[in-house]
């Protein structure tokens, strides 16, 4: 009986994880058996309310996908050196992901902090896992990598557009 309950509980959690993974842009090209292979490389982590998932300026080695709960993305405010103030940037929910740049960049520092709002469960996908996936299943790994490059390319393009906008605004203000 206990075994039956445990297996069902575990199976349910695994199903949710696979469902969220299949909806994630990085893994959307993979079929269910490939998703199962990828899920073996991921790490399930639990965070309590107010617990930091990662801290700004620390070296990060990977990304997190939210399975359950909500996460606030915060950056240290200008007065942070004096007080413990943090500026709120955005709130992420189930299915969202964060820290994807650290999956590629060597010794990349987190540009913001992530704090769990309530009981939160995330799936962690880190550089060593990506390397292992590429080594053992290169075809799956390269598809994930391609999608990751597209995400990072889009972010770069968005940032470039923002910089152009800001430059225009500065010109207008100066004029």
């Amino acid at each position: 009986m206990i075994n039956y309950l445990w297996e069902n509980l575990f199976k349910k959690r695994e199903d949710i994880a696979l469902k969220i993974l299949s909806g994630n842009i990085l893994f959307q090209d993979l079929n269910s058996s490939e998703l199962k292979i990828v899920s073996d490389f991921l790490h399930l982590r639990h965070y309590r309310p107010a617990e930091l998932i990662f801290r700004q300026n620390e070296i990060g080695v990977g990304m997190y996908i939210i399975l359950k709960g909500r996460v606030d993305i915060l950056i240290e405010s200008d007065e942070a050196s004096k007080t413990d103030n943090e500026d709120f940037i955005t709130r992420l929910e189930e299915g969202d992901f964060m820290g994807e740049l650290s999956l590629i960049e060597e010794n990349s520092r987190r540009t913001a902090s992530a704090r769990a709002i309530n009981e939160t469960t995330v799936l962690g996908f880190f550089q060593p896992d990506l390397k292992n996936l590429l080594q053992s299943h290169p075809e799956i790994g390269s598809r994930v990598l391609l999608r990751l490059s597209q995400v990072l390319g889009r972010r770069l393009s968005e940032t470039a557009t923002k910089i152009t906008e800001l430059k225009k605004q500065i010109k207008i203000i100066k004029a």
Partner: protein
């Protein structure tokens, strides 16, 4: 205020988790160090794991399931090892018996060689002080060879447990490496998770490269010595090649120790000394010119003082096996300390 209280509570929980995690690691280490044969079995299992993992990863890349690939590679590896042992054992056994029979002559020869050198040194420095090195060397050799030949059967029967346990552990370390690593990482507190994951990966990579490079280097040196000694029809070529390969695992002084028996035999027999020196020098030349730059250069490097200290500690703790194990163990400690230091300096903001 509410967040502050929550954070204080979280810090307490994290500390407790860290304590539990460290206690588990310490308990594991205590079991490894206190249970007979456990440490050596695990060390050998890791050597096997790192040696065979590229083949298993390759099979997995070709679409073979990891469990099947592990079984296949294991069967293939042990078939080859059994075939090599089956082929080499009669030769080694014959050479071992012949060497045992000839041993008194070699001991006497070595004694008179040292005596000659001693007399010449005494003549040159014209001293009345008696070194008496030859007698001491003779005693040392008699005790050493007696203990080697008398303890060999006992040592082999004792090693049987290790020889059975090591492949057993290695099989599961290879087949379930991902699951084992994930289960262990599950125990790590959240605030240390990325650090420990990164550290574990780095140590794993470096140890794998180190063990594979050293084994390849030792095998090539052993093969060159064996081929060279066989060509000049030198006695005990199998035994001497095996000895040269094993001692080559010890950096810096290993190759010298490996060449000494062959040089002494050549000097006592009065034949082939130059050829023997040439063969050992050629093997080291190939090692220095090709193997070290191509394979070994990238792996962890130990300072000669560290090597000597590690070998002495290894010999004190576990005898000859300890000497061989000491270098990978010292390298692992060095990689761990380096990585922890790097992480402590760079990981935190």
């Amino acid at each position: 205020m509410n967040i502050l209280i929550q954070q204080i509570r979280l810090k307490k929980i994290e500390r407790l988790k860290l304590l539990i995690f460290l206690s588990i690691i310490i308990a594991g280490l205590v079991i490894l160090l206190t249970v007979e044969n456990m440490l050596l079995s695990f060390l050998l299992a890791f050597v096997l794991k790192y040696t065979l993992s590229p083949l298993i990863n390759y099979s997995e890349r070709q679409g073979v399931k990891r469990s099947h690939a592990t079984l296949l590679v294991f069967i293939l590896f042990f078939t080859i090892i059994s075939a090599v042992i089956y082929w080499a054992l009669p030769y080694i056994s014959v050479q071992l018996k012949a060497f045992h029979a000839e041993l008194p002559r070699y001991i006497e020869g070595t004694r008179s060689l040292i005596f000659d050198i001693e007399s010449k040194v005494e003549e040159i420095i014209n001293t009345s002080v008696e070194f008496n090195l030859s007698a001491q060397a003779e005693n040392l050799m008699l005790t050493w060879t007696k203990s080697v030949f008398e303890d060999l059967p006992n040592f082999l029967s004792k090693s049987l447990t290790t020889l059975l346990l090591a492949p057993f552990f290695a099989y599961f370390l290879l087949k379930d490496s991902q699951t084992i690593s994930k289960k262990l990482l599950d125990l790590v507190p959240n605030s240390f998770f990325e650090l420990v994951l990164s550290l574990q990966h780095q140590i794993n990579e470096q140890m794998g490269q180190f063990i594979r490079a050293r084994l390849l280097e030792a095998s090539i040196v052993g093969l060159i010595v064996w081929a060279g000694l066989s060509i000049i029809d030198f006695p005990y070529s199998h035994l001497l090649a095996l000895f040269a390969a094993l001692t080559n695992l010890i950096p810096y002084i290993g190759p010298i120790i490996g060449a000494i028996p062959a040089i002494i035999i050549a000097m006592i027999n009065g034949a082939g000394l130059l050829a023997v020196i040439g063969i050992y020098a050629f093997a080291q030349l190939i090692d220095m010119l090709f193997i070290i730059p191509l394979v070994v250069a990238k792996i962890v490097d130990l300072h000669p003082i560290t090597v000597v200290i590690s070998i002495i500690i290894g010999a004190q703790l576990m005898g000859v096996v300890g000497m061989l194990v000491s270098i990978p163990a010292a390298s692992m400690i060095k990689v761990t300390i380096q990585s922890v230091y790097h992480h402590l300096i760079n990981f935190r903001a």
